[in-house]
């Protein structure tokens, strides 16, 4: 069912992920910074996890603030 589970956003650097966390919080979107799952990238940093239901809204917030993310994945 759509809206269940998590989505994760990958960024070029943790500074971007931290900015995203702040911007989403301002819009009352819950998120959490977690280590990047090995299956998604070999990079050692963090990524931002949101509820899958919030994915679209999160993308809009980031676009509005010209914050670029590299990838977004739905977690199984």
């Amino acid at each position: 069912m759509a809206g269940q589970g998590f989505s994760v956003f990958l960024f070029q650097s943790s500074s971007y992920a931290l900015r995203a966390e702040k911007l989403l919080a301002q819009e009352k979107i819950r998120s959490k910074l977690i280590p990047v799952p090995r299956s998604l990238s070999s990079d050692c940093g963090v990524c931002l996890r949101t509820g899958r239901a919030d994915k679209k809204k999160a993308i809009m917030v980031m676009e509005k603030n010209s914050l670029r993310f590299e990838q977004v994945h739905d977690l199984k």
């Binding site: 650097s13 500074s15 702040k22 910074l33 070999s42 050692c44 940093g45 963090v46």
Partner: protein, 363 residues
């Protein structure tokens, strides 16, 4: 800072665990606080450095190429004029706009030095020798008119005098943490405006950034491209504390207070015989720095005696700014300089004037 060291102590952006994220958050929050404080376009365009000297070097070495022309003022600190003189040897043309003996700069002096290949104007917002404020906004306007980049050394003003990247047309606002931002030493950086393209600024150093670790090439995005190596997170947490204190106080209030003290100090010193005060001698035209000389005692001796006899700590000599001392006519002996901050009181000013009076009387 103690809180960071005891509770966090991890390296931001180098791992994904909870404490590393917390360290990253402290650094990011400091970026955000600075962006808000200077009205910078984006917290990710706040680049940290060890101090303003490094920040200025990042900008000048990163942007200027042989064949470029740059304009600066005759009131600059060595942290500006030395990198420029170094770059001059590599083929960058440098013009110095002449300031008055009071340290003031007529924007017209900058305007008339602009050439077709001028790339940048670099000035301090206020002199560290006499405190004289330079007309940043007017010069910023000139830069916009000619399409030049505008770099401001805010070491003497950030936190003590209002500064706004947008209103003042500043493209590169360099700051240092340990003065009027009330942060610790070893913190500083530059806020970069939208007119500076990421690929136009070559990184001064390359290395680990915690991002794109699989690549052997330096990342090409900010702040990472310009921030190789572990940041001074302990210091930055202190800078964040200084900024939040400043936000509570308000720069306007601090400015009013300092202006009152400067007025009192100027009036007190000017009454003394054998004392020459430099600068505009007008509290509205300067920051909390007052420079003077004594007719009969050298600055170095005066400094020692003020310390030993009155416990007054001041800096004497050339203040890392020989160019500025040439401009005001006090090279090479220099001056005695009092620097005031938000924690000074009216009584301390009276005490300082009394101490200087004692010196003049006994010599």
């Amino acid at each position: 800072m103690a809180d960071f060291s005891e509770r966090v102590g991890a390296n931001p952006g180098r791992a994904g665990h909870r404490l590393a994220v917390e360290a990253g958050r402290i650094v990011y929050n400091t970026r955000e606080a600075l962006a808000e404080f200077f009205n910078a376009p984006d917290p990710l365009r706040i680049v940290f450095a060890a101090n303003i000297t490094e920040a200025i070097n990042i900008c000048l070495h990163g942007l200027l190429e042989p064949g470029d022309h740059v304009i600066t003022s005759s009131m600059e600190h060595n942290s500006v004029i030395r990198p420029l003189r170094y770059l001059e040897k590599a083929g960058v043309a440098v013009s110095v706009a002449q300031c008055t003996p009071e340290g003031e700069l007529d924007p017209e002096e900058v305007d008339k030095l602009v050439k077709p290949y001028t790339k940048m104007v670099v000035i301090n917002h206020a002199s560290n020798v006499v405190g004289t404020l330079l007309p940043v906004r007017e010069i910023g306007r000139i830069c916009r008119r000619y399409g030049l980049l505008f770099l401001v050394d805010s070491a003497q003003t950030a936190g003590a005098y209002p500064l706004d990247m947008k209103k003042d047309f500043i493209d590169l606002l360099c700051f240092t943490g340990h003065k009027s931002l009330y942060g610790p030493m070893g913190t500083g950086g530059v806020a970069i405006g939208n007119r500076v393209a990421t690929d136009a600024l070559r990184p001064l150093k390359q290395g680990g950034t915690g991002s794109h670790s699989e690549k052997e090439e330096q990342p090409d995005f900010w702040p990472d491209a310009l921030e190789s190596g572990t940041l001074n997170v302990v210091g930055l947490s202190g800078l964040a504390a200084g900024l939040s204190w400043l936000r509570e106080q308000g720069v306007a209030k601090i400015r009013r207070q300092e202006q009152k003290l400067v007025r009192k100090l100027l009036a007190g010193l000017e009454e003394l015989k054998g004392v020459t005060v430099y600068g505009t001698k007008n509290a509205t035209k300067q920051t909390g720095v007052v420079s003077f000389t004594l007719r009969d005692i050298s600055p170095s001796e005066a400094g020692l005696r003020l310390d030993e006899e009155s416990g007054l700590l001041c800096r004497v000599g050339l203040h890392c700014a020989p160019l500025a001392h040439r401009t005001i006519g006090t090279f090479p002996q220099g001056t005695i300089r009092f620097g005031l901050g938000a924690f000074n009181t009216s009584e301390e000013i009276e005490e300082a004037v009394r101490a200087v009076y004692q010196l003049t009387k006994r010599s």
